[in-house]
Every structure is written in C-alpha cells, then in structure tokens.
Subunit: 209 residues, 2 copies
DNA sequence: TTAAATATCCCTTTTTTACAGGATAGCATC
DNA sequence: GATGCTATCCTGTAAAAAAGGGATATTTAA
C-alpha cells in the first residue's frame, strides 16, 4: 500500500517543488493538491489521503484553523504543517490542533520522506529547526483571553480610551477598566504600551482588520 | 540563445518547484541555484546568468541587500524578486535596488515565463498582486524618525515609563516627553496604544530584540 | 553661512491609566 | 448545589500620559 499524500498550499512553486521531490518515490502516491482551505475540504469529501502537507498561511483560512477542522472531521488523517517561518507560536498551534509534525520549506527530500514515514508510524516529526525552536521558547505560553477581553484589546490598540470603548460596546467605563486590568495581568504587561506589544507577540491582534 | 536562469532561495521546495516549472521550457537554460547569498556571489564569479530569481528572505543576507550588491558588480544581469509576501515595502526596496521585476511564489508557470520574457526585453514585470499592492498602499508613507526617537519608541514598547526611559538614556523626563510628543505627531497616533500598533504597522519596531 | 532639523530642557492643566479593594449576577459543569 | 469562570459595576488614590505652551544649544544640509 502506497502512502496517499495530499498538499494544501497556495504557492504554486512550493506545490510543484513537493511534487517534484515526491514523484520518484515509489512508496508515495500523489493524490492531488489544493490552493486554499475550501477546495481542500471539498476534495476530502471525495477522497481521503493518508497524509496532508499543509501550509500555515493561506488566502481564505489559516492552516491552523484548517488543521483543526480537518482533524475533527477526519481524525485518521495525519497532518504535517509546512511553513517558511520558524515561528514557535505557529508550530505550537498546529500541534495543539492535531498536527502530527512540522516541516520547514527548506527541508530536503530526505527530511520530507523521513517526516512522512515517521508520521505514518504514528509518531511525531519536527524538522530540526522547528524542534529547536519549540525547546527554546518554552515559556512562551499564550494567555487565554475571553471574547470580551479580545474585543477590548483590539479597541485599545486602535487608540481608544476606556470611555470611548465603554460607549462603543455599551458598558460602563468601569467594566472596560476591569477588562483592561485583567488583560494587563494575563499578558503580564506593565502598561498599555507593553500590552499592545505583547498582543502582537502572542498574535492576539494583527494588522489587517 | 537560451536564457540562462539562476535561482537564489534557501527553500529547497521552492527551488525544486521552479526547476520543475522550467525544465520543459526550451528557451530556458537552468544554470544552477544557491541556497544563500554568499554561495550566490561565489557562483557569479564563475558564470553569469541572464536572469536571477531571488528570494527576499535568506539566512545570511536579505535579498534586498544581495540585489544591490549583484547589480553593482554585474549591471547586465536582470533580477526578479521572489516572495511569499505581498508586502509593499519589500517590493519597493527590491525595485529601488535595481530589480527588474517581482513575482510571488504562487505564480503559475505562465506568469513565470511571461515575467522572464518581459524582463529579457528590458521591461519591468510585476505579478498582478504585487502591482496591485504597489498601487493600493500608496498613502502608506512611513514616517521618518530620528535615532533618538527610534530608541525611545522601542523603550516605550518595552513598557517603560518616561521616568524610566529618562534614567536609562541619561536625559531628563522632559526630553523623553518631548520625544514622545513628536512620535505621537509623526505617526499620527492618538495615544501610546495606537503608537505601538502603528510602530508595528510601519515596521519601526519588531519582536526580535 | 544661514536655515532647518535635532536634541535637550522646563512649566501647567486635564485626561487617562494603574492599582487596590471590593460586589453581584449569569451560566455551565460537575 | 457548589464551584469556577465570565461579565458587569462601583469607590478611591496615585501615577502617568496627553496637550498646550515655550526655550536653547548643536548638528546637518542647502
């Protein structure tokens, strides 16, 4: 039985690269690729691969979310995260959402094959750099925020004061102040400036919205 | 005469992808690839390509710097920037440093060939998305900060107060306050929170330091 | 060399945050 | 039905930042 491999990546060159790396491997069957999350989900309704190589950044949905969704619907599929970044938080989130491994796009053919084989045995595979990154940044626990806290955090980063936020979300300024207090405590920030910086660090807010 | 193409990219899968896309093109001669800036420069001493496809992010040196260096030494070589990001500042900088075009890594084989052909005619080629990005983000003027202002901005983002910053950089709190005032004005921020957010937006500060 | 930009310092007033201490109500889970 | 989490609201004080004004050397560039 050959291992059925499917790729989700919006970068044509990367898809071609993986295809090229796998085409001479007799143990691998390339069953197709998708350029975005939706066409991936559509494909999986027709045919299930053994392994999905999944980019973390895609136009319609992040690989992190897609990973979760696929794992919920098809728990038997093994997922390997693919990324150019060696970014601890991404790796962590992919693993949290059920990924079995993580490969950087500068991986060699040997690493790619090693990763697929390991994962088919039910083990975890992390490319060297990714594993190092995980070990190093161990204290980087992402704080868990409530919906309201996230909302307030975003408005703070927009430059709004407590009073302005209070008006906007129809609560008293005291409530906003409490959320702010909790945000400072949860992110361990000394003040608003560090709060916003740490929010970026933990990817709790982003530039596009 | 076939067009001699050389690739500089530290992502193995991307190199393989481009090789795969170009291998059946009779007008193209693949003369090699480099995984970092230094081996690229070493290769160019031996043999000169017509076109270099160059990644913007590499381990030892950014493509933006490498582009400049190559163009200074070998002005006749055409350079096409390659990136996964659709980031206006990168595109602009590559063009400023002598690149003839810019391609995103999700370009198709047709776009890749079109780009190479256009550039060999001495024209400029921007992939659709890249060109759009250049047009769209036109009003995104990055404010010019002085050395001192940058220094203060970073310390603000670290969560330090005016007094703490004053002690750290050996000036009075009034001075720090003035710098802060100027930062708010230059970045057009309403308060510290928005200041830090906009600092990220304009890439005036980053997470790693 | 003159003008412009930079870096430094000071004052006042108002607004906003930070921190400390609460309280209450709803909701889910166990 | 107790426990824990979330969201809401309150009082009060102290610290910090925002906004307004202005001043003076030094460096840079035209």
């Amino acid at each position: 039985m050959r291992t059925k491999v499917f790729i989700v990546d919006d970068h044509y060159m990367v898809v071609e690269g993986i295809r090229s790396l796998l085409q001479n491997e007799k143990s691998i069957e390339w069953i197709g690729h998708a350029m975005n999350a939706n066409s991936c989900l559509a494909f999986l309704k027709q045919q299930l691969p053994d392994v999905i190589l999944m980019d973390i950044s895609m136009p319609d949905k992040s690989g992190i979310d897609l990973c979760k969704e696929v794992k919920e619907k098809y728990p038997s599929v093994f997922i390997i995260g693919l990324s150019t970044f060696n970014q601890q938080s991404f790796i962590q989130k992919m693993m949290d959402n059920g990924a079995s491994g993580y490969l950087l796009k500068n991986a060699t053919q040997e690493e790619l094959m090693e990763g697929i084989e390991m994962i088919m045995k039910g083990k975890v595979y992390l490319s060297d750099e990714a594993a190092q990154s995980l070990r190093k940044n161990n204290q980087g626990e992402v704080p868990v925020l409530t919906r309201r806290e996230k909302e307030v955090l975003e408005l703070i980063a927009e430059g709004m004061t407590n009073n302005e936020i209070a008006e906007k979300i129809f609560v008293s300024a005291s409530t906003v102040d409490t959320h702010r207090k909790n945000l400072l405590a949860k992110l361990e920030a000394k003040n608003t400036a560090e709060l916003v910086k740490l929010a970026f660090f933990h990817k709790l807010i982003s530039l596009d919205n």
